[in-house]
Symmetry: C2
Subunit: 324 residues, 2 copies
Amino acid sequence: MSESLRKLAELFQDNSHFVILSHVRPDGDAFGSSIGLALILKAMGKEARVFNEDGPSDQYAYLAGSVSVEKTPVERPPGSWKVVAVDCSTLERLGESFQGWGVRVDANIDHHPDNPGYAEINWIDSRALATAEIVARTALELGFPVRADAAAALYVGILTDTNSFSFRPLRPETLELAAALIRSGADPEMLSWRTFRNFSLNRFELLREILNRTRFAAENRIAFYRLDADLYAKTGTTSLEVENFLNYLQLVQTVQVAFMVEEVGPRVTRISLRSIPAIDVRPVAAHFGGGGHRNASGARAPLPVAEVETQLLEQILPLLRSPS
Amino acid sequence: MSESLRKLAELFQDNSHFVILSHVRPDGDAFGSSIGLALILKAMGKEARVFNEDGPSDQYAYLAGSVSVEKTPVERPPGSWKVVAVDCSTLERLGESFQGWGVRVDANIDHHPDNPGYAEINWIDSRALATAEIVARTALELGFPVRADAAAALYVGILTDTNSFSFRPLRPETLELAAALIRSGADPEMLSWRTFRNFSLNRFELLREILNRTRFAAENRIAFYRLDADLYAKTGTTSLEVENFLNYLQLVQTVQVAFMVEEVGPRVTRISLRSIPAIDVRPVAAHFGGGGHRNASGARAPLPVAEVETQLLEQILPLLRSPS
């Protein structure tokens, strides 16, 4: 057993009160890994609270079980709590409220390769496809109780971060771990329905609208769409609901890079980029002051949306491979 | 070892020439399981040819490897060939050409629960989520060689029939088998891209058109669309390309039944139905003389498309659950 793992095991065994935090704009792995860990700790007889800067999400309400996600309070909760960050690549991404607590992070459990290790104990495995995978594997290895409710939350973390086991360099270990979570009581059919077939009718309208707006460039090697500030109001949706819609543009075989630009203010444009495995879009995001993963990155640019769109097309063009 | 498995093992070990057939309107499991089996037999030094009534498909061309799929010839190929049917629930579904050969099927490997066992050796496991799963498990159990090319074909069979491990009552055994195929050399990332992100631009246009036509009924518990005879010509697509588009209608959380009606002739309407696990749509398909699975069935009705649409709405209404 490594030194870090021994310390992590001790942290969980020797203490009784934990707060678990994940990153702002939480996704399925942020919720799944934090709720999953809390449920494991509760099964060990511990107190565990789950905080997120953005509070709970209707989208993952079915995961709650005996744990509720709470909006991170501005004041540190009274008493002695050990702080565990999951799925959070930087201290800043834990959100503003937490920064005001003025405490250190005791444990940092993550799979992001750029995690600098900002905590007392850093348990980072960048080979894992989801932080939920690390939480599950570690708990099973340490003999901690992974009951059906925890298994379900962790399964959803893996399901969302691997996009249902697709479009990622999947490891056999990940599939075997998912199998173990099913054996622990996770219901894969129900969980994939609740996770992926959860659109409101408004969100379906938003998808229609986005597909209708989608344009193609550079011999159909680039696909992109633009969102105006009023589209969410018009369709009764929020900006969180547009998450992953670039996947639909990537259905087209010729598409090597897909992007969206969203007007979030008069001179503020949100950019999201996706690419095929062969193309690294991080330099494009970096050009606008952003970053992220090789095939999924983003930025916020202090420029009007039309200007950003033009610059993006220019930046992406030299990265494209010959049409196949 | 069961009697059937012993006979199957002998069939493969004691003979040297095989033709492998799968069902008409082949899907990923028909191609994956037939090509995978052929590649296993070739690795054993056997001759193996893969036939399908509808011939090869561009969509699965990347699976070919050292095996080509051929259109089933009208005449039986000269010489002594053992005939193996995979993923084919009835003798009829092997196609017209094969019926003209006037020979029996030596082995019938399938996962459809309604397979009547029409061959000399029937190796049917309805717990398997794909026929490719049966082929892979059987080959590994018998110690037959499953090399990277066969593993890739079998992985794709599982990937397509499980819709990338989602929306099905997934067994841990299936995930563990998929892990074994990755260890045998299947590249999961490449295969899921080639399998699912393979739309032509025309097919993307067809999807846009279908989503724009999609209507909702019964408090958004039914979603449906209608295809005219000229839509494929208009978008430059074929009827095979509309496969699985009902999945997109099922993204909406309130949708309990999704259906499509397609005008294939003046008084011929093709029906395709999908439902949530709790609802059995087979009786609806049966009303029009069709059949299929509990949550995925279909029919061809000798009625005009508008009439079928009206009758379908009437038939589905009493099956719906209360809105949640």
